[in-house]
Symmetry: C2
Subunit: 380 residues, 2 copies
Amino acid sequence: MMLPNPTLNLSGDRFTVRYRIAAAEGARQIAEAICLEQTVEFPADLVPAGDIGQQIVGRIESLEPVAPGVSEAVISYAVETTGFELTQFLNVLFGNTSIKPGIRVARFDLPESLLNRFRGPRFGVQGLRAHLNVSDRPLLCTALKPLGLSAADLADLAYRLALGGIDIIKDDHGLADQSFAPFAERVQRCAEAVERAGRETGRRAIYMPHIAGPVDTVVERARLAREAGAGGLLVSPGLVGFDTMRRLAADDSIALPIMSHPALLGSFVTSPANGISHFALFGQIARLAGADATVYPNWGGRFSFSQEECRSIAEGAAVPMGHIRPIFPTPGGGMSLGRVPEMLRFYGRDVILLIGGGLFQAGPDLVANCRSFLATVSGR
Amino acid sequence: MMLPNPTLNLSGDRFTVRYRIAAAEGARQIAEAICLEQTVEFPADLVPAGDIGQQIVGRIESLEPVAPGVSEAVISYAVETTGFELTQFLNVLFGNTSIKPGIRVARFDLPESLLNRFRGPRFGVQGLRAHLNVSDRPLLCTALKPLGLSAADLADLAYRLALGGIDIIKDDHGLADQSFAPFAERVQRCAEAVERAGRETGRRAIYMPHIAGPVDTVVERARLAREAGAGGLLVSPGLVGFDTMRRLAADDSIALPIMSHPALLGSFVTSPANGISHFALFGQIARLAGADATVYPNWGGRFSFSQEECRSIAEGAAVPMGHIRPIFPTPGGGMSLGRVPEMLRFYGRDVILLIGGGLFQAGPDLVANCRSFLATVSGR
């Protein structure tokens, strides 16, 4: 049957996505399939020839071999296909194509007309530095754990960690609203403990509770955290959705820095030929969705990211994206005090160093371990 | 330092997860690492020896080789670790371990005390049959596309598809709230068109709009859909989050059947050694999160799922899960009328057959193509 062939009056603005295509041959057909799959999802010979075929269907801007059996396709899409919403942007970026093995999103580039629809990180590197009053060194972060401790016990740990000089004391991402440390009580106690330590040291430290839970409670929990004196929020977009993180970041009544956690996002990156690159996922998308810091496992810890993958995350956290601020790479995942000098050399100054269990293993006195961490980072 | 060693008074109820571990050796150490990673995320030698070590840390219930270089570990967790929330359940299931290559969630089994906290599908197979008044044959589904058509054009298509006998006319998952077919106008026109066709044919057909968009608008869009006369909702948990789907399913003021779409979920399944199995992701998790039908690409279409993977989704859609209802497998992704007899033999009666572009390709008269589809499925 003949379909209508509407005139769409589009702006002509397009965004581009670089896809890595692993295929010994037929890369062009695969790229052409992406152009259809991500937009009209319709047989090529039935697509109306006018604006839908010319403007809505993705367009191959370039296609080059980049390694044996791997090509890189740059495909552009009309900005209007996204409806200027984050969920639909992610859908055009990789929705159905995520189901096709051998295709990986490497990076994307958005024109101002699309970037302008996203607020991005409220704080970013400079804002979070100002929030913490630390202008000249990497930031120190640790996590409250293990799961199973009471709210009072976690608050006692938080107090000692802040006393020792840790800048950001976040919930472990496994803390939600469990009976042994209910969210409201935990946040109240931990925020108070960190503030009390700050009064004693004269140094600002902040507590970041993990904001997860049923979608209806997320904003409420974030507001409760703000009222209790929490200085930031830990958000796991793999659990609550990227748009929930964006919404929390954009809320002027919350207005707290956000640290993004990679829980349940691993499957996007574990297979090198599939998914989304570390650069785009933990860098670009985290920023577009409002994170001020992006947690990921550093190389040589409990996880398997390579040095090069970690470098690419730091690059994605800083690559120019119009008004979207650069954010802090936050490597963790089995780091120890002994790894700090190497991480400082690798990441430079604009990094948050996340050490969890390693801070407890470094010696019997937790406060002294924290002071040692701070001294190393401060170069004293 | 010595950590507190609290008494937790847990119920003793545990849920189990089967993980496939791809490793030539060291499967036990990997399984032990999962037990820690998914709970306390703490060095084993520092975990308090009491209830935290005994109850909170995951427990290896069995570990068996199942293929050369592959072991299956059954690990149990205290139900209380989930806080009885879907987001935290998914976190314990696979949160940080998703970042470790070579580990795949194969399936999970939940005790009544955990299942009871989830409503699951409001309709399920029997409820959706009653909703559509079709008791004895597979259901027919198609998608409104291509992206770029106006709301009026899409409604005209919807009318003809319903006139031809399609039971469920859903938005293509790429339809969001774009300028060329704004959500509110589209839903109003398409719901009206499908209802009008139903009055003419005397046969009930339903329209399912795609509910995505900013997290704050999702419930509002679903209510608007209900008020406009939509008969169900298409939801993409990869875009909006699984808990958003659960929340929509649980809302008594919406009370519409939900079809789950796999957009952006592909990376969980594209690499066979990583991620989450088709059975667990498109079957068990979709049900726990309230879907009444689960869309996935059938084998032999534009995507690469195998026959065996498709079978496992149908099994996951029906496996006993306490009060959680069985749901409809909804294979699509490049199907044609010619594939229908084979799909009927393979899936039996309790299936929704989704044919999109193929309905347009089958011949010049769209209504006649639909009638042919219905005749094949009805065995007439």
